[in-house]
Assembly symmetry: C3
Homo-oligomer: 216 residues x 3
């Protein structure tokens, strides 16, 4: 379990950062940012969640500014988008699937890192969810948009929360092992994908909110 | 004085977080955020100021992500608003009064916590004010609004600043005691309430700014 | 080199903070913020980059909330703008030149501070650039604008990045000395000024981006 616990920079993590960074680069292009803006937004979307996580658990400097592998992964996504974004815009479905996988990985990675550094269960769950959704929130704020994750009614944060809760519970019971950690990642990914396919929705607040539960 | 100094999680602090969280939940409902957005905004408005405080004074993880009592208080406000917000919107006056009381408490709590952890007077005053106004600033940024506290001309930050300055001065003179700490809270609250009742205003910048001092 | 390394608060740094704070105060006035908003925005623009730097390298409390000299410098700029902003708006050219000098100083100061506290080269470069551009980004977010530095196509972050890279390289080669540190500052300043004079531009992303390289 040590490999998970210390939050080691694995190949999977590099890929997850790359995939998440794509959404930032695309948002920057849509806003007609310049090359610097595209690179920064890719970095923010790919590594912003991890930076918030590390600041909250006091692990400075955050890997988002100290790990060559992760920073290069995020900037590579930015460069790619800068030159080839029309093609990437058309791969919207692929990006959606890969992004769900990256989100699931971030949840595991963020939650176990916090637990490994001595955080309590509550902190670990909050930080695990934030690792997954924080980059997107910062991306939206920096492009002048209201964060999508707060308002689009999709189940994105909910699978993340379920995953972080499961990981923290397994840890607390001293049952967390590579095999069930992988299982949680698969579960979070499947939950997210299923909610997209079925159109499951988070209810909005409103007088008639009960009538709007779900889209079916 | 120890109870104040270490920033212990008291019942009053829990109530102050709950009351402050209400403004975040209501802002989220107005923006038609979904259930997740309402909960996060309640958390941000109730605990965001304290998170900024703890990050600045290096006390990680911040109580906003590690204290069950405080997190539950903020989320409870979010749940309440999600279901019953039309009623809460009508209680605007009550919310205003409770919010002023919460602000006064946050100023004392933030300033003494910083001083207790060894911060200098300047840091403690800045951090005390930020504990009181930081949650509202983050709430406004995350809902796509310009922070109200910068532009609404109300005396909100000014009473906070006066209170933080008084607490820091008393501390420096080694005169801070429970009785005068309570007095400062009452004073900050009274100052805020009086400014609302009388319509006292912070002057805006502008060529004819002197003519606009006050609303009378 | 010690004087640079520990990031000591020098007269030059105080001046750089003052100059940078001017842009925040002016942005607040344009948004018709009140006196409190003008002061906070001056503080954010002058010291926000340094606060982000210190949070990322774990040096809490940040000098932006603990150094009297720096806080007074930023607030003095705010007060000045509150009363005399029409005159300052007319000094746009002077402000542009002084701001470029401040940016160059921040790059040196931020990069060497990070290196001096044990950060690696990557962290130091990121943090050096952030010290220079972070205040402006926070200023724009808090006034409801998309950060100028991401979208205005000007060479602002690029000279900063070159300067931070040079400082880090010299440090790594154990060649950093007062005389070449000053040279880097002059170089960054000259690069920025030249890019303004010649209209050099960062390319925006877009289908026909190659055609838009430069403005000539």
């Amino acid at each position: 379990m040590d490999a998970f616990v210390v939050g080691s920079v694995t190949m999977l993590e590099v890929l997850a950062v790359f995939v998440s960074a794509v959404s930032g680069g695309l948002a920057a292009v849509r806003k007609r940012f310049d090359a610097f803006g595209v690179l920064v937004l890719a970095w923010v979307a790919g590594l912003g969640g991890g930076v918030l996580r590390d600041l909250l658990i006091g692990d400075t400097p955050p890997v988002g500014v100290s790990s060559w592998r992760l920073v290069v992964a995020a900037l590579a996504a930015g460069v790619l988008i800068f030159f080839f974004h029309p093609g990437l815009e058309r791969m919207r479905r692929t990006v959606l699937v890969l992004d769900a996988a990256a989100m699931a990985l971030f949840v595991l990675q963020g939650t176990t890192k916090a637990l490994g550094l001595g955080s309590g269960v509550l902190t670990a769950v909050v930080v695990g969810v934030l690792t997954a959704v924080g980059g997107g929130i910062l991306r939206d704020v920096l492009t002048g948009e209201v964060p999508l994750v707060f308002a689009d009614r999709q189940l994105y944060a909910v699978p993340a929360l379920v995953g972080a809760g499961l990981v923290a519970a397994l840890w607390r019971l001293e049952l967390l092992a590579p095999w069930n950690a992988v299982l949680v990642v698969v579960l979070v990914f499947a939950f997210r994908m299923l909610s997209v396919a079925r159109g499951w929705a988070v209810p909005p607040a409103g007088p008639g909110w009960t009538a709007r539960w779900g889209r079916g």
